[in-house]
Symmetry: C2
Amino acid sequence: MRRPTLEAVATRAGVSKSTVSRVVNGEATVGPDIRALVMRAVNELDYMPNPAARSLVTQRTDSIAVIVSDPPAGLVSDDPMFSTVVRAASREFEAAGKQVALMLAGTADSRLRVRQFVAAGHVDGVMLMSMHGADPLPAALAATGVPIVSHGRPAVSVDVPWVDNDNIGGAALAVRHLLDRGRRRIAMISGPLDMSAAQDRLGAYRATLRETGRRSIVAIGDFTRISGAEAMFQLLDDDPALDAVFAANDLMAIGALRALRRAGRRVPDDVAVVGYDDIEAALYTDPPLTTVRSPMGDQAVASARLLLGLLENRPMSSVVLPTELIVRDSS
Amino acid sequence: MRRPTLEAVATRAGVSKSTVSRVVNGEATVGPDIRALVMRAVNELDYMPNPAARSLVTQRTDSIAVIVSDPPAGLVSDDPMFSTVVRAASREFEAAGKQVALMLAGTADSRLRVRQFVAAGHVDGVMLMSMHGADPLPAALAATGVPIVSHGRPAVSVDVPWVDNDNIGGAALAVRHLLDRGRRRIAMISGPLDMSAAQDRLGAYRATLRETGRRSIVAIGDFTRISGAEAMFQLLDDDPALDAVFAANDLMAIGALRALRRAGRRVPDDVAVVGYDDIEAALYTDPPLTTVRSPMGDQAVASARLLLGLLENRPMSSVVLPTELIVRDSS
DNA sequence: CTGAAAGCGCTTACAG
DNA sequence: CTGAAAGCGCTTACAG
């Protein structure tokens, strides 16, 4: 019932454990006839190396942690971005023979657990997702000495390389598009200001309006649909004459569309709406949503490659990926 | 630079390794003064047990695999269900001290990798998600002897306990609701027929219509938005006079809403629409979507508990959770 | 090219 | 209640 060991294979093949180990690990220094003998024994016994025993001596685990800073309410993991990123990164890591352990770290408790897990040497590297400014995790993890990358630039300066899309350029694209369409009173629904993506998108919105001498009108959401709807109601209160709104992500834009419908405003006739991310749902809103396409999958792949490079001691630096405006009927 | 070992702690505390091990593992048989001594050394050195070494002797890994049968196109992981389930299950497992390794197994290659991973003893148990009928993975994994549960009843009979919602009851609720509203020609957009949820929902639709002497009108999708839109166009072709459609999930219902809009049909005036799942997006469609609420989070929690029970050798059996109709403006 | 031996860092009977 | 010793299943210098 117990699984076969190296020793069993060695006995069966009539060779030493060393030789079996070499064959199993693909070392070239084994004679072809002996190798064949060993392979046969391996197949007959359906042998697979015990990963714990291997890790114990190699000091590697061949697995990496993807850590998602997800509050208990599930703000992050309800975002379609979450699946896209986890999926793309998993593929990349698995192609490199690394197993992915997904960990959620939204509470103080789970942060502690995650830190312990990493510090105990469970994984060879860490990919961080959606880190808020106040989050102590990046620093705590960096202190363990394990290689780390962040998917998205961390809000506070901490010495981990990151990959992000061009939030500033993307937001500027959105606002200029609305100006080009002749919109005069362009409001923004911002994301939470302790996240760098939200900061950058808001900053670019403000800068672009300032260039043309226009005033900013801002409400803050938390990247969820419901917060987008609430922010939209507030903006309509603040400035009933607004004729456009730029939401810092598509989920909030979807919430805004609903709020505008409830308030009896037509989109785009009365109010133009632009989102950010280009999630699939943006194609299915009524009307379909104009949005900034952020290359989420590419960003995840780049993050994964960054970490894989770090694991091989290659010199690696942060990456910014370009964005693109997708014009649909909402603007 | 190397992390401290049991031995280092023992030396520092002036006791044996056995004693340190006992303290670290919370055994009660250690004198209070000695325990204090050890604890101090542990803290001073920031000691954490090496998990590989521990696993090697205990034959446990304290981690479990969540395996998602996700085709390369990402059908499953783009579904909001995916995040909800992964998140809820992760919480449950982590509360029990189990680490979660998320694995995607959509291709033959990745299925092989997953099987090897499990067979090699990387994990103590497996939770399967969204298994299609032809998928050889459940049987292959069952053969490894590792405890398995399936989130969702497997389409082919394989001896693993599962947790599912009451697909038959839920679908019947939806169809009866449409009948009660006076709808006469009720079409259905089914999910892929190699999945049990799709089979059951379609079966219940047919049975309920048959009871009242009505004909079925069915098109098949794959649970994605786009397939829902395509199926809706086909249904309109097949029966231009249809006055209601029941989609086997909300994503396809959202696609159907879009197709109906394109075809110039008003919802619910011309065609009533009902979905299944009650994902958050169902609240944000125009009009908001009537749907069957399936307790996805509860189902994930129940699946996790089922597996945890199995790991403790408790006798466990499959579970069916009740559903509920949520009536909104689309019907 | 192959093997005997040491050692990775733990846990756990077995003594006392 | 505490310790010495064996052993979990591998890899890897070191010899030959």
